[in-house]
Amino acid sequence: MTTAKAVCVVALSLALSACDNILGLKDLDAIDDTKLWTDPGLAQAFISRIYADNLPGWSTGDANNSDESPGGNAYMYGLLTENSVAYWCIRATGCEHPPYDRLRSINILLADIDQGTLDTALTKRMKGEAHFFRAWDYWELVKRYGGVPLILKPQALTDSLFVRRDSTSKVIRQIVADLDSAIALLPAARATSPDNNGRVHKGTAMAVKGRVLLYYASPQFNRTGDVTRWQNAYDANLAARDYLASHGFGLYPDFAGLWFADMNKEAVFVRRYLYSQSAVRREEHGEEIGGVHRWAAATRPLDVSQGATGANRPTLEMVNAFPMWDGRPIAGNPGYDTLYFWKNRDPRFYATIAYNGAVWELNGVTGRRQWTYVGAESNNPTPSGFYTRKAVNPEDDAFQAFNGQTQWIELRYAEVLMNLAEAANAIGNTQVAYDQIIALRARARIDPGAGLYGLDAAMTTAQMQAAIMLERRIEFAYEAKRHWDLRRNMLFESLLNGTRRRALKVTLLVPVATWNAVRDTVDLDSTYPQYFSHQVINLDPQPITWQLNYYFYAIPQAHIQLNANLQQTMGWANGTFDPLP
């Protein structure tokens, strides 16, 4: 009896004394907040996540919202609603990293880093990076919606949280101020040196500032044509161009290959990708990663792809926009033949467009040709008769295309030149504009002719502006630039409204069996009409009807529900916020 009793008593007292200890557990893989700004490893991990959240990447949807590709119905047919443009998204609807969540992390860094013990150079660099990405985040918001609330410190729940929208000009001023801070704080990086590894540097910030000021000078924001904005854009882009050039940046000699040479001299603002099973696996565990992208899977013909439904199918308009090898447009060009339309074109045409019969050695298959005639493809064939081949690495197989590792160059040196050209032209300095376009055409290996590479001599400002838009359309095709160029120059109504995007329907004229016997060896450059005929068909079932209020999109209702002080943009239901001042 006594032994048993003792057992009970001992066990009870042991248990009672143990209980406080057993509840003293902690989250084994979480970091205590006191350690972050004293440990360089942790601090760098923090900024690395800011990069991962904020770096722009490949976008397969942008081409649909312009004359590059069919689709984009909501934008093109005037069907956008107050909730359609949900770039400013909300966690409740499954968005992993809404803009203001990303901004909060940035603001935490800027508010707290000076209280830590990190060394000066690291602190300076990280603050520069934070300023850069804060500017970038607000820029992505303001170009869509106009002014948004400026939140510049990590708010506490006790702060007055129900903020109002700040004016567009105030947000732009803040963006420029942040970029100026970034320019002052960020280290320099020489192109193709080891310290240019995908981080932003002084030159990146200067180039982005140039882009921001160019947009701000453009009609979308600058309805009155305020010349000082163009002057500011010119100054910023000139400074960026000169700075980058002095640090080894420039045009990469191979237009087609610039995507595949990682961190080449043209890559100013880059997101890098790397396939790793580890990252894929962690993604399955619920983490959002950006280790790979699906650009090639969506862009390649679906017969040689997987896990994608197709994107970036070039319209006939886009195909016809490319000039001939002499830089002159196809219209009225004696070298141009509508049936042999691929002959003698700007070399950038061959780097961008795959047409019926084009040699496209996908999956690394030597001599593989792309057939786009009716019935040639089994799996969701291109409706336009063309494919985009830009940045699609032919060596990849379908799996590698689905797990793309091609670097995304958000801003390449060529754009700095074109931004400079546009601003220079607007302030009357047409020659600078000529110089930049010629630089691009020379790199593209267009025939120089008398030195103008096919450009008209002595263009007016307006003619030059049109030439610049054309050059951007060709040079940056499918790089998610065209939609934004049309929008900031308010060209949707004049260029696209009332029109329909078109396709080239290619019909095989001989029996399939006959064709199959010769298809791999036939010389299409001389016998094409024996086998094929062309017909131009519409891709748009109805005319394009872009709406005027799309130059500043509506703020999705969800945000206004959370905060009655947020005004809707004018032009939309209940809209009272003027995005122009």
Binding site: A4, L25, L28, R49, S105, L161, F162, G198, N379, P541
Partner: protein, 1051 residues
Amino acid sequence: MWCCRRWFLALLWMAVAGAFAPHAHAQSVTGTVTDSVSGRVLPLVRVRVKGTNQQTASDVAGRYAVDVTSLQDTLLFSLIGYKPQEVPIAGRSEVDVQLAVLPVEIGGLVVTAYRVQDRRTVTASVASVNGEDIAGIPADNLSNALAGQFAGATITQNAGTPGRESSIRVRAVGTFNTADPLYVIDGVVSDKFAFDGLAAQEVQSISILKDGAAASLYGSRAANGVILVTTKRGGIGAAEFSYNSSVGTQEPTRIPPSLNAFQHATAINNALAYSKIPTTDARYYTPDELDYFKTHSWDWIQALWRDPMDAQHSLNIRGGAEGVRYFLSGSLLDATGSFDNLSFKRITTRGNLDVDLTDRLKASVDFSSTRRDRHGPSWGINASGVQDWGQEDLYKALALRTRMVPPYIDGLPVGNWVEWHPGVVISNESGYNKVNWLEYNATARLTYRLPFVTGLNATLAYYKGYAEGYRKQFNLPYQMTVFNTTGTHNHIVGDQPVGLRPRSDIDFLLNNDGRDNFYQVNAQLNYVGAVGNHHFDGLLVYEQAASDSSWFEGQRNAFISPNIDQFVAASSEDSWVDGRQQQRARSSYVGSLGYDYARRYFLQTSFRYDGSVIFAPEHRWGFFPSISAGWRLTDEPFFKSKFFDELKLRASYGIVGNDAVDPFQWRPGYDFELGAIFDSPTLGLTPSNLANRAITWEKAKSYNFGVDSRFWHNRMSVTVDLFYRNTYDILGSPQQRVPSTFGGVLADSNYQEIDAGGFEVELGYDGTAGDAARPIRFSLHGTLGYATNRIVRLNEAQNIRKYQSRIGRTTAPNSSCFGYVYGGMLRTQADIDALPPNYTIIGVPPQLGMLNYKDLRGVGQGNDAPDGKITSDDQNWICDYDSPPLSYGITLGASWRGLRFSALLQGAAGFKRMMHANGRDIQARAEEASYGYWADSWTPDNPDGAYPGYRIPFTGGSSYRTSYPVSSFWLRDASFLRLKNLTVSYLLPERLTNALGVSTATLHFTGTNLLMLNDHFGDWGFDPEMNNIRSYPLMKTFAVGMDVSLKRRVQ
């Protein structure tokens, strides 16, 4: 082949069992004990030889055998709840006995929290079921066998995947967090996964504690009810072997049809025409192609489906002698899947041993283990599927597979139009995915009857559990064959191979190993005492539990050969590992005090004081008290009723808690995630949720009022319970209460509130008919539960429009009940012309064939008048319940001699189901078809179609499908009534069993989900009990089996 293997195994078991065939003994008496009214056999009846120590107990078949010194002895039969009986043997060797239920004692013992109670004294709301009632149902999962057995528990099986469990909800859902009840197995807090690992044959009883008073002893996590499982234990008597086996097969109750080849091709043409694409476009199916598809359509499901089979075997040995009692059990479940190369196996073992060390000290040692193995295909496209082993994904993929392409031509998998091939995946050519789960549990328990104070016991129990999950996935690329195409637009697949289409997912080997170590210590004091008519009981428990779990996984890619699935055979270049570890702990103090006067007036109070590691130290402890009272009127002198045998009123009030939220939300900190890629991938850190130090338990005040009655000579019983529960401090994210510009993710806070209420009724009738000597006994039992709730307080946005608010509504409708109000289909131009100018439907101008909705209000706060167009602000709450508030079950039983029949009807009512997005979707691409009902969709030629037409302009690229938004058009009454179980069993006559050398033998047939008696989903083609149209179908099962028991006679 399958069948043969199963039967062979069965025969083997019998051979083994045969070795223990009884030896004849001159001085032994056998017999069967049955209930005098219902005729049910009574197990566990204690049989003593009067004047000796010789005793035994009846087995599951009510059979007993006892050795006597003389055939003139007298036997004493006793069982709690029954009138003891003395029966002189009078020279017989076979003595059958019928025991009468004591008029005032109903139902015997009930297992409640931390103890076993006499049913009469229970004042809380407890429902229970005996193992025998479910052991005969051939469910491959314990939870599936419980459907319709309990009032107040909603048990639904959302998909019929073999091995897939049902979800169990007790009463109305009272939280926005997990509504799973707490599972307690033999006193150890456990989980659903362990519960589902039990074999029905090792279960003695299952109780569900429904109200606050019953559950508050498990206070902290008992807000959603408690499910208590007790496993079988030994009893004094000769060793008794019982062997149960069954073999069953399954077939889907319904598989929703998809469009056949011709309908599919026509649908694509309609979509193209609808989008004004010229008919010269190559995507059109030309008349010759349409003609071909009229007679050529390939049903992939039919080609690849195999009706699953399963076999179950269990062997129990139970017995004991003075001082030692034992129960040993082993079971095997072996199931095939609905496609080749899928299988599920479960092996359980259990040994429960009780030893009386001294007069006062008793020791128990229990061991149990469960092993579950799943084998399935590997999915390169989606490497997960640990839980559903690919079967459901395969079914989904096949359900809408295009019928315009044959799966195979000349044995080659066809790669035209399709990106991947389910047939190849099923064949294991793309690799495999195996998962094993292993669990070992051991409990040691000492019970000491303290001296000096009669009725005081001390118990010390230590439980240790270990669980491991191991997964091995080997993934391989494969190739499909592309065939030539014919037809004007090349839409017909020919029979000439023209190329290969690789599915080049990477080849890899993945191992994942997760383990969980768990212990629980209980120190417990029990007291039961009486002074005259004053009865007292008391309970004091200290309980402590902790777990440490971790997982680790690794992978290597690029294998040298597909034949070697070992890490050494792969490059280490792209290999990686990952893992996590976490720890949890709790400690609790539990107590209760009960008093009754003359078994007439009852009062019971209890408390639990719980500490959880999930909360900050100062908010960690929660106190959960309860009080309940009961009054048995039938024992009152003034209550003289010939009619009532039992009438008891019960009332209870208790507070229970819930802490099912993410732990450590009170600590500020940062979490690891992946960072950006510079020259190589980097690690990232992201702020954790904004800490809330004040976070603590959510609590529920639970009220219950009940009546238990038995009348008409115990033939009828009625139990009624009414309940109300107010759950407050419900944990939830207050994110909706801060603007999106705040940017931080807030930790949960205690804010929300839900009221819930309802009632439960259990009715029983047992009767006899016919020849008094061999009566037909029949019974009718019904359970009905109604439960509803209302949101009182909710984290909602400040500027939300009134119609969007969920406050005042039930929790049942989530987003599937928020949508547009159907306002007719635009069938003719006249319909469109009648619309206001500039009318748009969710941004799209009206077009023929579209669904139109009711214009309820304008866009933006304050615009409450219709605005002449349909916008997201025209949505509304269109149903109150998407899960059943009312569920019921009716059990019909009848027996005559050895023949028994029982049928369970299960029903649910009062709720609606929204067609899932997959079914609101019409496809216009070759690879995937739409569901069959879309054949009757609107076209210019079929303006009266029941379903809408293709809506979005077809411009290639990605817009080849139309998904209609949630609207009342897609809403249906989901009530149903089905024949859930049907069992027929036959107890072989003694002549035959004697000849076979066994004590009893029963043959049985059981079917589940045999008949749908009433529902509204016929034309949609799926079962209303399923989550959605794409879920793996619910299965009909048919099983035959036998139970054999024999008893070894002691010489």
